[in-house]
């Protein structure tokens, strides 16, 4: 059973098995071209695999959008150390719920993607780091891994090709910061999820001090299709500098929220109105977050001619991010939205950098005061200034992720902050208020 009805406007490449009977089983996978790409890749040289991924214009789906082929080429293949493959399945960026489906409905696609990555750098072991809350997915992945071992698609001498690979699941235990690549590696090694200073990047010094490829679930899941049908076919689906499709999580005030696979470059308004069935209750679109709460927010007007790709979002000073689209209608209180987003970052800051640790807590307090009607006019500028002072002054991007949306909300919706001044109750609040802050 699917969580939401598919849309006819989707281009289903990664999600093509979603909804098939027993889609997670290895038999279904093998009956639908499964593991063919691995065999094809086994016949290719490592450089050829990486070249194909480069041609596909695949960019990391975890949020930063770094070109995947280039990332793989940074791994020093001649290093005497073992090389590792790590899958980032920590999925905790607010608004994002797609990796979950990729693992639930098609776990073997992920395993095959990992195997191909392993061939490209000659790695022989890897881990799938899954957030602790996704216990049922750990069970699904473990079952799929067992099937793969049993049928000779993992372990020693895979399908008689002489290639060995072991893959394990690893549970997180509740920490957004462990989705950050270097904090994830620390956590994998059994430590607190405090990020590492980079360089060196994980490609050179990653898991257990060894060269490591670390990508998001969706990134690996795109790889079998790229090798099977060629990088060019994948690239052609998208826009010039970003190939393929993106699993997009439509959330918030739309009539048909859900996860949909859309080509890169899909128009934002078409996505909201046709895929998502329009804004709920026929209301107007007020604000839009393109890919998780770390992205600067866009106004309804800014969305009109925007498309879902890296360049279009960058031109609007935002980011494509992780695929977690948040739609807010005209009745949404932007002060409340800013407050809730800041509460999240204040809770998740690992506390290493002072600007992030103190900044997020301070901002949370000011925004709380504001939402209760106790803010002052100078607080509005203080919110902006504090956020700007966090930018670029932290060890990991969480500080920026907290600051950027806040700056954009204050700049674009300043009037709403003014409307909360002078002890007036929140103009949008019909009943109740935020209880715990």
């Amino acid at each position: 059973m699917l969580y939401n009805e598919p849309s006819p406007l989707e281009t289903r490449v990664l999600s093509r098995r979603f909804g098939m009977p027993n889609s997670a089983s290895i038999d279904t996978y093998l009956a639908t071209d499964g593991y063919k790409a691995f065999l094809k890749a086994r016949g290719m040289k490592p450089e050829e695999i990486i070249e194909e991924v480069k041609i596909s214009n695949l960019r990391g789906r975890g949020g930063a959008g770094f070109p995947t082929g280039m990332k793989w080429s940074f791994v020093p293949r001649n290093s005497p150390k073992p090389k590792y493959i790590v899958v980032n399945a920590d999925e905790s960026e607010p608004g994002t719920c797609k990796d979950r489906l990729l693992m639930e409905y098609d776990p073997h696609q992920l395993i095959e993607g990992v195997l191909i990555a392993a061939l490209s750098v000659d790695a022989h072991a890897g881990w799938i780091y899954i957030r602790g809350e996704y216990r049922y997915l750990i069970e699904i992945m473990d079952k799929a891994l067992n099937e793969a071992y049993h049928k000779g698609w993992l372990g020693k001498n895979i399908q008689g090709t002489g290639f060995d690979f072991d893959l394990y699941t690893h549970s997180g235990a509740g920490a957004y910061e462990c989705g950050e690549e270097s904090a994830l590696l620390e956590s994998l090694e059994g430590k607190r999820g405090i990020p590492r200073i980079r360089p060196p990047f994980p490609a050179v010094v990653g898991a257990f001090q060894c060269p490591t490829i670390l990508n998001n679930v969706e990134t690996y899941c795109a790889v079998p299709a790229i090798i099977r049908d060629g990088g060019k076919a994948f690239a052609d689906l998208g826009v010039p500098k970003a190939g393929g499709t993106k699993l997009t999580c439509l959330t918030g005030h739309v009539n048909k929220p859900g996860v949909y696979e859309l080509t890169l470059g899909f128009p934002v308004m078409k996505m909201i109105n046709e895929v998502g069935g329009g804004v709920r209750n026929g209301k107007k679109l007020k604000a839009f977050i393109p890919g998780g709460s770390s992205c600067p927010i866009l106004t309804g007007e800014e969305c009109q001619d925007a498309t879902m790709d890296y360049d279009s979002m960058a031109a609007r000073k935002s980011m494509l991010g992780s695929g977690g689209v948040v739609v807010m209608d005209e009745d949404t209180c932007m002060v409340k939205a800013a407050l809730r987003i800041m509460r999240f970052y204040a809770h998740e800051s690992c506390g290493w950098c002072i600007p992030c640790r103190e900044g997020t807590t301070w901002l949370r307090k000011i925004l709380t005061r504001f939402h209760e009607g106790q803010g002052t006019r100078s607080d509005i500028d203080l919110i902006g200034d504090l956020s700007k002072n966090m930018l670029g002054r932290t060890f990991c991007p969480l500080g920026d992720a907290a600051a950027l949306p806040t700056i954009s909300i204050v700049e674009k919706f300043r009037q709403e902050f003014e409307d909360h001044l002078n002890g007036r109750p929140c103009p949008f609040e019909h009943a109740g208020h935020m209880v715990t802050v």
Binding site: Y3, N4, E91, S92, E93, P94, G95, T96, C97, D99, R100, R131, G132, E133, Y134, R135, Y136, H170, S171, G172, A173, G174, A175, Y176, S187, G190, K191, R192, G193, C249, L250, T251, G252, H253, P257, G258, V259, I289, S293, G324, V326, V327, M328, T332, K336, A337, R340, I341, F344, H347, E348, C350, A431, G432, M434, V435, T436
Partner: protein, 134 residues
């Protein structure tokens, strides 16, 4: 070590002193080192929770579907707050950050089970059911 702590907690109910000692011994580190690690992770608890741990997400996508009202409703109904348990130890509550169910908001997790598109009525039924459940 992190999965070890989580799976052990699932057996025991919380991370007890004995558990810390045992894990320290097996991993070959000091209990202090285990403690240092576990305090970082929000799913690891040093105190017992309810048998059914009800986690209500109020992060942005759920908030837009009035998850804050659900949270208040649950607190009111059970007479407990954030990270508190009912007197009989049956149910505990936690207001959590995004649990990866944003497109099917608002979302609630009871132990490891997801509940999607939760309405006020559904929450009421869910809590009533948990009160009686063995």
């Amino acid at each position: 070590m992190i999965p070890m702590l989580l799976y052990a907690q699932d057996e025991v109910g919380h991370v007890s002193d004995e558990l810390i000692e045992e894990i320290a011994r097996r991993v070959g580190v000091t209990p202090l080192q285990v403690n240092e690690v576990l305090t970082y992770y929000s799913m690891l608890h040093r105190k017992p929770l309810g048998k059914y741990h009800v986690q209500i997400c109020t992060n942005i996508s759920c908030l837009l579907w009035d998850a804050d009202k659900l949270w208040e409703q649950a607190c009111h109904k059970l007479g407990i707050g954030h990270k508190e348990a009912t007197g009989d130890g049956q149910i505990s509550l936690e207001e959590v950050e995004c649990i990866g169910a944003c497109s099917w908001a608002p979302a609630v997790q009871v132990n490891y089970d997801f509940h999607h598109f939760v309405t006020s009525e559904k929450l009421d039924q869910l809590l009533d059911g948990l009160r009686k459940k063995q």
